[in-house]
Each structure stands twice: as C-alpha cells, then as structure tokens.
C-alpha cells in the first residue's frame, strides 16, 4: 500500500507540474491518513512544505434524511484560503461517485480553486454520477454487491484492503 501511495504522490506532482499552489485535501475519514501520507511523500521529494487540509462532507450527503443514525459531524480544517489553488481531493475508495459530488459542493463553499483533481487509493467501478479519478492507486474490478474495506494503520491498526461478500 505504501508503494501505491508513493506512486500516487509522484503522479500528483507530475500532473500539477510541480507543487506551486498545490493543496492536498483528505476526505473524512479514511481519505485523511492517505492524504497525510501523500503530503509527506511529496514534501520529502520536493523538500518544501505542502499545505494539507481535511474535508468533512457529512452535511452535504444526498442521503442525509434517509439514513439513521446520522453520521457524526466533525470540523472541516483547511490551512489557508483555497482560491486559485490546485486542490487534490483524496479518498480511499471511489465507488458511486456520490461522496465526491458532496466533497465538490463542500469545497466550493470555501472559495474558488483554480483546479480540483481527484486521487483515490482504489477505484472499484460502478459509478452513478459522471465522476472519474485523475490518480488511482489500484483499479479493483468488483461486483456491485461486494464490500471493499480499506484499513489503515492510523485508524485501524494495520494497512489492509479487504473484499467481502455483503
């Protein structure tokens, strides 16, 4: 997994042609440690600090009134204004695309970035919205009724990706 994250970090720097105006933003909850690790890799490569933020999308979900109990709301933390920045959104799994739709809406409420790109550790297919990832750690073909679970040392004690029958 660490090799995949390092590769994603390299690809982000290449696609942005350097780290000018770059900001890495992790989507709560499992996008955050991945984004943190990518930021560290990029900082090591480039020898300069890169701003890193956290986005909570709970209040922008399209299923908020149909799920119970409500997910716990946590603060969004962006280190500086996002206007004219190259934002890289980071999440663990890209599935229906609805999380990313919510993340884009949440982000736009904070300003007008120059460009927003998406980096995900795993792309499992089955999109329900016209959304794609720019940087992908690994593409994993799945059935729609399978469950993909990404475990990370920071949140779960170990790095692991599980594919389970529902």
């Amino acid at each position: 997994m660490n090799r995949a994250i390092r590769r994603m970090a390299i690809e982000v720097v290449e696609k942005n042609r350097g780290i000018d105006d770059l900001m890495i933003v992790g989507i709560r909850s499992r996008g955050v440690p991945i984004a943190e690790r990518m930021t560290r890799e990029i900082e090591q490569m480039e020898g300069q600090p890169v701003p890193f933020g956290i986005l909570d999308i709970t209040l922008y979900r399209d299923d908020l009134t149909t799920i119970a109990p409500q997910p716990v709301v946590k603060p969004t933390k962006l280190p500086e204004p996002i206007d004219d920045k190259n934002i890289v959104l980071v999440d663990d799994v890209l599935f229906t695309g609805r999380t990313i739709r919510a993340a884009l809406d949440a982000l736009i409420d904070f300003g007008r970035p120059k460009r927003v790109t998406l980096a995900v550790l795993i792309d499992r297919g089955h999109r329900e919205l016209p959304i794609h990832a720019d940087v992908i750690g690994k593409t994993v073909p799945t059935d729609a009724d399978e469950v993909i679970k990404v475990k990370l040392t920071e949140t779960d004690g170990e790095d692991e990706v599980l594919i389970m029958e529902r």
Partner: protein, 316 residues
C-alpha cells in the same frame, strides 16, 4: 429505525432530565463540528434543505429565538417565526388549535417556548412525526441553554467531570438552573447553589447539589461562576428587601472575585441586569467573562440539536 448509542433515542428534545450522559456527550461533540461552519465565508450547509421549522414563541425572547433562527438558516432549513402577539392567540385561540393549524401546513420540526411547563411535551405526544424542541417551558426546563453552558465550560476547561460550578441567584423560578443541575450532575460536575433563602427551593439538595447562603462561600474553589438574572419585572413582590441590598449580598463584583480561583469563568445566560446580580466591569472583563462565548456557542449547539433530530423519522 433509530439505533441506540450513537443517536438520540427520542424524536424530541423536551429537557435534559430524560437524556443519558452519552446523549449529552453526542450533542456536545456534534456541536464542535458545527462551530466551524459559523467561521466560514459561506456560513451555510445543506443538511436540512427542504425541511420546515416553525419557531413557536409564545413568550418573550430575543437571544434564544434569534439563535435558533440563525442555526436553522445555517442548516438551510426553511423557517417560520410565530409570535403570540399579532396572531389569533390574541383573539383567544388555544395553544392546541394554533399548533394543529400550523401542523396542517406540514412542518418537520417545532421549536416552542411557552409559559406553561409541559407544553412542549404535550405537542410532542400529539404529533408523532414532528420533532419538538423545548426552548423554555415555564420554570421547568431550558435544555439548549444548559447544553450551550456545558459546551462553553468544556471548551474552556477541557472537561465537565469534576469541575466545580457555582450557580448564584434566583434558583426557585429558574428553568436554566433546573436544566443545568440535571446536565452537570449527569456529567459528574460538582454543583453549588447560592442565593437568598426566599429564592431557594426546599429540599433542592436532593438533586445532588450543595447549598450555601453566602456568596464568598460559594465562590471559594469554584472553577465556574454562573450568575442568574433577577427578574426585575416581578418588582413589587421582591423576595429580598431591595435591589441595593441584593447587589451588596449576592452581586458579583471585582472585589468579590479576588477570593476566587485564578482563571475562574464567569457566565450569565442573559439578559443581564448590570449592577444588580453582576457588576458591569466584571461582565465586560475578558479575563473572566465568557458571556459572549456562550451566545456564539448557542448557535453551534442548536445546530447540533436540529441536525440530530432533523434527520430520518421512523414511520414516515
């Protein structure tokens, strides 16, 4: 269905008394997430889009009504403010008839303030698909005030458990005190009450609090001093000889504060009577007073309550 543990068990917030410590912690944790929304350039999130909230205020209120309205707007709910004056209530319409008519227009939530204790509960039972929030019912409870007080204490001191909280003033007629005692004792804070004996209910110690009759004794060792409003509108039947005497005996002055612990927090639910229960320079001193923090935090706490009650409704 609502799942116990990480959600509130009831569809309503009628008081602090029925809540568990876990539910109180959930509301305070959620409010932390909402505090940041009010600091954004666009102070609005779409969480309650399309939901109608009716603010039914049958008794005077500025802070609470405005705070609820701002919280609702920041969650993108549609809000309707109903005040008793200028409505059919003045023509003699009963609360039930007023509420039935408003409910016929399909609101999702009702925030109610009423002089009669228990009126929020009556509405909550009458309308099984509507979330009812108590914004103060007579001398019974004012749950969101106690929650924002607790949020402010926790924000400043990092915890509630073991904190020494002194509450001074009109204990007998105050719904703020009742909600605060329930909340603070549930969260394992130590509560001390002080005030004139005429304003101290008999056997209040049974709620798990300590009662003292001098301000100096109450201040000693306190981490938080909460001053209550003396209800001057009930002048003429004052429960103490004179306002000057009250100020001399129970008014919080700089002189009195010298005996307090370093870093003590001074709180007041508002509206303040400067020079009656609290000296002006104390109320305005940023080294002690967190009175305006309480107001700021009120919006975040009310957003949390609206969000937690405004989601899925079983049976809809």
């Amino acid at each position: 269905m609502r799942i116990q543990g990480s959600a509130l068990r009831s569809k309503d917030l009628l008081g602090i008394e029925p809540l568990t410590p876990e539910e109180i912690a959930l509301i305070l944790d959620t409010a932390e997430g909402f505090k940041e929304v009010s600091e954004r350039p666009v102070k609005k999130v779409p969480a309650l889009r399309g939901q109608l909230v009716i603010n039914l205020f049958m008794e005077a209120s500025t802070r609470t009504r405005v705070s609820f309205e701002i919280a609702e707007k920041r969650l993108s709910a549609d809000t309707l403010n109903f005040a008793a004056s200028g409505s059919a209530v003045e023509k003699g319409e009963t609360l039930i008839d007023t509420a039935d008519n408003l409910v016929a227009m399909r609101p999702n939530m009702i925030v109610i303030r009423h002089k009669h204790p228990g009126s929020p509960q009556m509405l909550a039972q009458r309308y099984p698909n509507i979330a009812v929030i108590n914004a103060g019912d007579g001398a019974h409870e004012h749950p969101t005030q106690a929650l924002l007080d607790a949020f402010t204490i926790r924000e400043r001191l990092g915890r509630l458990s073991g904190v020494n909280v002194t509450i001074v003033g009109d204990i007998k007629y105050s719904r703020v005190v009742r909600s605060n005692i329930h909340l603070l004792t549930k969260m394992k804070a130590n509560v001390t009450l002080a005030g004139p004996p005429t304003l101290m209910p008999a056997e209040i110690e049974k709620m798990g609090v300590r009662v003292v009759h001098s301000l100096d004794e109450a201040i000693e060792g306190a981490d938080v001093i909460m001053m209550l409003r003396i209800q001057l509108e009930r002048q003429g039947k004052l429960s103490f000889p004179s306002i000057r005497e009250y100020y001399r005996t129970f008014g919080l002055t700089r002189e009195r504060l010298r005996r307090a612990k370093k870093g003590v927090l001074v709180m007041h639910p508002g509206p303040m009577n400067r020079g009656v229960e609290i000296a002006s320079d104390v109320a305005d001193d940023p080294n002690y007073s967190v009175i305006l923090d309480q107001v700021t935090n009120g919006v975040a706490v009310r957003m949390a309550v609206l969000y937690l009650l405004g989601g899925a409704h079983p049976g809809e």
